[in-house]
Symmetry: D2
Subunit: 138 residues, 4 copies
Amino acid sequence: MVIMEKLLYTSKIKVRYYETDKMGVVHHSNYIRYFEVARTEAMAAIGCAYRDIENSGILMPVISVNCEYRFPAYYADELTVKTFLQRITGARMVFAYQVFNAEGKLLATGNTVLAFIHSDSRRPVRMPAAIRDILINL
Amino acid sequence: MVIMEKLLYTSKIKVRYYETDKMGVVHHSNYIRYFEVARTEAMAAIGCAYRDIENSGILMPVISVNCEYRFPAYYADELTVKTFLQRITGARMVFAYQVFNAEGKLLATGNTVLAFIHSDSRRPVRMPAAIRDILINL
Amino acid sequence: MVIMEKLLYTSKIKVRYYETDKMGVVHHSNYIRYFEVARTEAMAAIGCAYRDIENSGILMPVISVNCEYRFPAYYADELTVKTFLQRITGARMVFAYQVFNAEGKLLATGNTVLAFIHSDSRRPVRMPAAIRDILINL
Amino acid sequence: MVIMEKLLYTSKIKVRYYETDKMGVVHHSNYIRYFEVARTEAMAAIGCAYRDIENSGILMPVISVNCEYRFPAYYADELTVKTFLQRITGARMVFAYQVFNAEGKLLATGNTVLAFIHSDSRRPVRMPAAIRDILINL
């Protein structure tokens, strides 16, 4: 998690009540969902809205996720999530994330690896050229 | 919620940690999800497995839900959910639910109204004859 | 659901991917969560931030919820949720909600009844005077 | 993820409808929740019920999670989750997981690192002796 190559976008996410658990903090599984929210915004920001990708017949399943938790987040916290493009290959995109609270404390880091598949055949495909062109020219 | 016509099934659901919130109890939204789990089991029990219904090209969207909360449920509680068929019409099924904890205390009651639509057209359809036959002969 | 007494706030909520289900639409349970997000924003907007209420030793459990679903919401939809104060009594607040999509179509309506309890004793209490004063002067 | 030291428990988890997403499969974030369900059952099975640990004043926050996704799970699938104790240190427990579908296909693997903190001070503590004794004698 050291190399955070290219910052794509900075998201603001407000912690929702139902995301907390009886420990009084945000349940750890929700950071994986925050990553998804942040990634959605990041992709839209660079011109690759995920909804459009799906509408074009390509799905991008998450094939790997990891997250390290340093400090808890609390109800109503205004989180900042930075989404980085960490690496691309012909058939993979690796995103990295940093989650900060309003005081700027780094709460969590993580990354996700996404693949490309056809929505009909569900078979792996290479990254669509339109996405590749955008990523190469970031 | 007085009339609970026909008991279809009694489900056992164990409260999961992520279903709790910072109040220390099960978040109210999860009862709606427990209803779905219980309804799924109830329909399978009477020979109308919802997976098979979807595979036959029919979807059953929830068009109304309500829930009354009397007492809280806690992490690791073993809940009992009774699912009743409350009413059927040509195009609707109304299910009612009672949620009990392990001491037999009634924690919540609710009901849901489900409709039938074609999975392709998303247009309303009448209840499939195969389901109707099962329900009439319960 | 006819009477929507006092509009408190208009929230914008963007549909998240994980909120959809295999039917391709927002799972019905998530509207209950949208209501909570909208209510949180509405209460903060009128000067009764729920986090502050909890910090003062009062919890506001939801004791009843209902929702009617008219049309589905989809991934990445920009929803508008209007939160109304429908009724108050000495110990209850009733909120009503209307959920619209970006085209202004009314997708769902609902309401929730909230009570007041002490966070330590978990016993019912009357509405705190500070909240009552704000509500009466809306 | 190669070394799966000690199998603690084999859980059965049925996929719930709300756990699916518009891709038609279980949303990736839910595997993190399945891990928690499986870990809860595994700890109870060896005599360390997590509810009892919390009641004794110790919390076990997840400080790291990772998951690799090989094949999707579908609505109503009967999953088998094997929970392994992978490693313990004075202040950490590392659990590993394997998720299989009913045909025995390995769908996902993962692990989680848990720490121990006091529920009041929220300060790290060493593993309680009662837990250590159980783990050492597995």
